[in-house]
């Protein structure tokens, strides 16, 4: 199992609180929690993964709130509030905000 380096950076015990995606601010970066997608419906989870949004990937918020738009690698995806509120992330303070 190979871990993306930024996960290590954000993994300090104190700073890594799990919060829903909808609570991030615009421009903030975060890492998707490894357990978080399991609360989603199977079909949504598979679709998100196929779009490139998978566990422990790093994302950037382009539009905050619900619905929100996030960017993973070179893909931007709009998520409705009902899905976004079930996606839990750890904000990574190590990553520079945009």
């Amino acid at each position: 199992m190979v871990v993306i380096p930024s996960t290590l950076m954000g993994d300090g015990a104190a700073q890594s609180k799990r919060i829903p995606l909808t609570q991030l601010a615009r421009g903030q970066r975060a890492i998707i929690d490894s357990e978080s997608l399991t609360t989603l419906a199977e079909a949504d989870r598979c679709l998100l993964r196929a779009m490139g949004i998978h566990e422990s990937c790093e994302l950037k918020v382009c539009k905050a709130g619900a619905p929100c738009i996030i960017e993973v690698e070179r893909t931007r995806v709009g998520l409705c509030g009902s899905v976004a509120s079930k996606v839990f992330v750890k904000p990574c303070d190590g990553c520079p905000a945009a």
Binding site: C46, L47, R49, M51, C62, P67, R74, T75, V77, A98
Partner: protein, 673 residues
């Protein structure tokens, strides 16, 4: 390129006597699939539904140096193994479960500007035991951004041929067709398939490990690096998702879209009207009078005119939609509208079809192709005709001026009320149908926002042409048939002129023969006689008899025989209603004011007023909600591939219209009007 093998030539010969080998384009949305397809096939392509489905795909022929290859553009999907209808469809298609034959080769599209994700997609697709070729698209765009892929190295990595292409510049397109044909003819042996599997990560690998694999491959085969996203795209998106500027842009874009089909389209429509009018007049002049001339002029030319009159709106809408989709804005618009429409069980993508339906339901229903989910799409099709279209406008004008004569404020309010009633009834019906007939979990919005790109006018023109042809081919013949039948119903059987009419005609010629005849007076007499003739003809025709049968049905709404006939004939197209009323009330066609005046004083046979306030109001409500449009019915039948949905829609809309009209009339009657 390798020299042609003898067995390959043999295979070609077999194919050329049967059918060309078939390639399926398989890829994620917005990866340049359609652009590549158009480059490959040019004009040798047609759009058709995939057999047995309501999903369409394009099929075309590509010429290669070794023969012809048939190419099929499948819908864009995010993954082959997903449990969404589009992915299922692609799987069925690749397995040969739908369509006449299974494709011989899969052309897997990999977007160079989103390479890592494309590699992950390809790794799934390559696990199917069939010949595959990878086409790297948008290579020009990626190169401009400083990123390029080494095809040979990637081919080595994945164990299948790789071609670098660009649908924009045409780069690599011929090589791709060649490579696909070659792969199709070679087929795939178990040995080479196993070899290919060895290159790929295990199927059970987790998504993050797959991402890791893709990144390793990327490092090995690509040079340069793509920035996360362009800063321009970032800034534009920031403006477009801003609460104020975002909303303003949305309203502006949608207003332009709406204005062009509502207002701009009327000029080509008038042009078409003129052309058909003149050719009808010409034919009338050269042909001998008789039933054949009537059939040609009123039946056929009238029917063709009634069909092509929809083309300007359809073409304009699809031209603009193509530009909007290509630019990347359409996805943002759907994103913005989703929250509101979801409450009624409709997706954000339904916004444009519903908006367009306010101009005309036909282009609106055709544009539901933008909605990926079949249930969402069906629900949108079912409620689209509730939106008040331009054909209802003259009826609104007439009835509202009748109801609120001299009270412009109330009249304006009533107008808004009509549009709102239609829209609200549509949204509530959508809510209802999504909880009953189209039950099931709604697909939540997970919508990719494609990067902003310069739209291609060439593609937009092509889409416009394609849609126009498709409309004429699919719905045109049925609409034409409906027009001819409706004309026949209202023109036959011929009725003998009544003594009253004969007397009027005699009087007219008498006046005309007088030495000091006033030409204006003669003309007035003549047109009055013509109107009387039309009226007698209409009431004596089949349509008139049908009106007699249907009259008891409309009696509770306050409609008499003549009004019932008017309602029935307006099925052809709602604008016919006003002209029918003119015939009924024997008013000259050019005089709206006198029509109003006459209608207000029009009396039934028993001397009571025809248009009392309750009757006019119930008629207005009826027209706002009823599906008084047979062309729409024909198109819904085409788009849903069944009679069930259009008939259901018709029954629901008519039932609702009737009940609401009845309630309004009863309320007004009890209120003492």
């Amino acid at each position: 390129m390798a020299a042609q093998q003898p067995d390959e030539l043999e295979a070609l010969r077999v194919y050329s006597t049967e059918r060309p080998p078939r390639a399926a384009l398989l890829g994620q949305p917005n990866t340049g699939k359609t652009t590549l397809f158009n480059r490959l096939c040019g004009s040798r392509a047609r759009t058709a539904n995939i057999p047995g489905t309501t999903v369409e795909s394009r099929v075309g022929l590509a010429a290669t140096t070794h023969g012809v290859l048939e190419i099929m553009d499948l819908p864009g999907i995010y993954g082959l193994s997903l449990e969404v209808p589009e992915s299922k469809l692609c799987r069925d298609c690749l397995d040969g479960r739908i369509g006449d034959v299974a494709p011989d080769v899969a052309v897997i599209i990999a977007d160079a500007t989103n390479f890592s994700r494309s590699l992950r997609f390809a790794s799934h697709a390559l696990r199917r035991k069939m010949p595959c070729v990878i086409a790297i698209t948008l290579a020009d765009d990626a190169r401009r951004k400083g990123f390029s892929v080494n095809a040979a190295a990637l081919s080595e990595c994945l164990g299948c041929p790789v071609v670098i292409t660009s649908g924009r510049t045409g780069e690599g397109v011929d090589e791709l067709a060649d490579a696909a044909l070659r792969a199709a003819l070679h087929g795939i042996s178990l040995e080479s398939f196993e070899q290919r599997l060895n290159h790929l990560p295990a199927s059970s690998v987790s998504e993050s490990d797959l991402a890791k694999w893709a990144n390793d491959v990327l490092v090995e085969v690509a040079s340069g690096r793509l920035a996360a996203a362009s800063s321009v795209s970032d800034r534009v998106d920031r403006a477009l998702t801003h609460p104020v500027s975002g909303l303003a842009t949305f309203i502006l874009v949608m207003s332009v879209l709406f204005a062009s089909i509502f207002w701009l389209a009327q000029f080509p429509m008038k042009g078409l009207d003129f052309i058909f009018g003149t050719s009808g007049d010409w034919l009338r002049a050269v042909m001998p009078a008789g039933p054949l001339r009537d059939l040609c002029v009123d039946g056929i030319i009238g029917g063709v005119a009634g069909t092509v009159v929809f083309l300007p709106q359809i073409c304009l809408l699809f031209f603009l939609l193509s530009l909007l989709e290509d630019s990347g804005y359409l996805a943002r618009a759907a994103f913005a509208a989703d929250k509101f429409l979801r409450r009624f069980g409709l997706p954000g993508q339904a916004f444009v079809p519903l908006l367009s339906s306010h101009a005309c339901a036909l282009p609106g229903i055709m544009s539901t192709r933008l909605i990926p989910d079949p249930k969402d799409r069906l629900a949108t099709i079912l409620v689209a005709p509730f939106m008040s279209c331009t054909a209802r406008l003259p009826v609104y004008v007439l009835l509202i001026s009748l109801l609120f004569a001299g009270r412009p404020w109330l009249a304006g309010l009533a107008f808004v009320g009509c549009y709102a009633t239609g829209a609200i009834a549509g949204l509530l019906s959508a809510f209802l149908v999504r909880r009953t007939l189209l039950k099931g979990p709604a697909r939540p919005m997970l919508l990719e926002m494609p990067p902003y790109r310069r739209p291609s006018v060439r593609i937009a023109l092509w889409v416009m042409y394609d849609r126009g042809v498709l409309f004429i081919k699919n719905a045109g013949s049925m609409i034409l048939a409906i027009c001819v039948v409706m004309w026949w119903l209202s023109a036959y059987p011929k009725v003998a002129p009544s003594p009253e009419l004969l007397q009027m005609r005699a009087q007219t010629s008498e006046v005309a023969l007088q030495a000091n005849a006033n030409p204006e007076q003669v003309q007035a007499l003549e047109s009055a006689a013509n109107l009387l003739e039309s009226r007698e003809q209409q009431l004596g025709s089949m349509a008139g008899k049908l009106g007699l049968i249907a009259e008891p049905l409309f009696h509770p709404l306050g409609f008499d025989h003549q009004l019932t006939v008017a309602v029935l004939t307006s099925f052809l197209a709602r604008e016919v209603f006003v002209s029918t009323l003119m015939i009924i009330s024997s008013t000259d066609a050019n005089d709206e004011a006198s029509l109003l005046d006459r209608l207000t004083h029009n009396r039934r046979a028993d001397g009571t007023l025809l248009f009392t306030i309750p009757t006019a109001a119930s008629l207005l409500v009826f027209f706002t909600l009823a599906m008084q449009c047979l062309p729409t019915l024909a198109l819904v039948r085409r788009e849903t591939q069944s009679w069930k949905w259009p008939l259901l829609q018709f029954a629901w809309m008519s039932g609702l219209a009737w009940s609401m009209a009845w309630i309004v009339r009863q309320a007004l009657l009890t209120g003492g009007f």
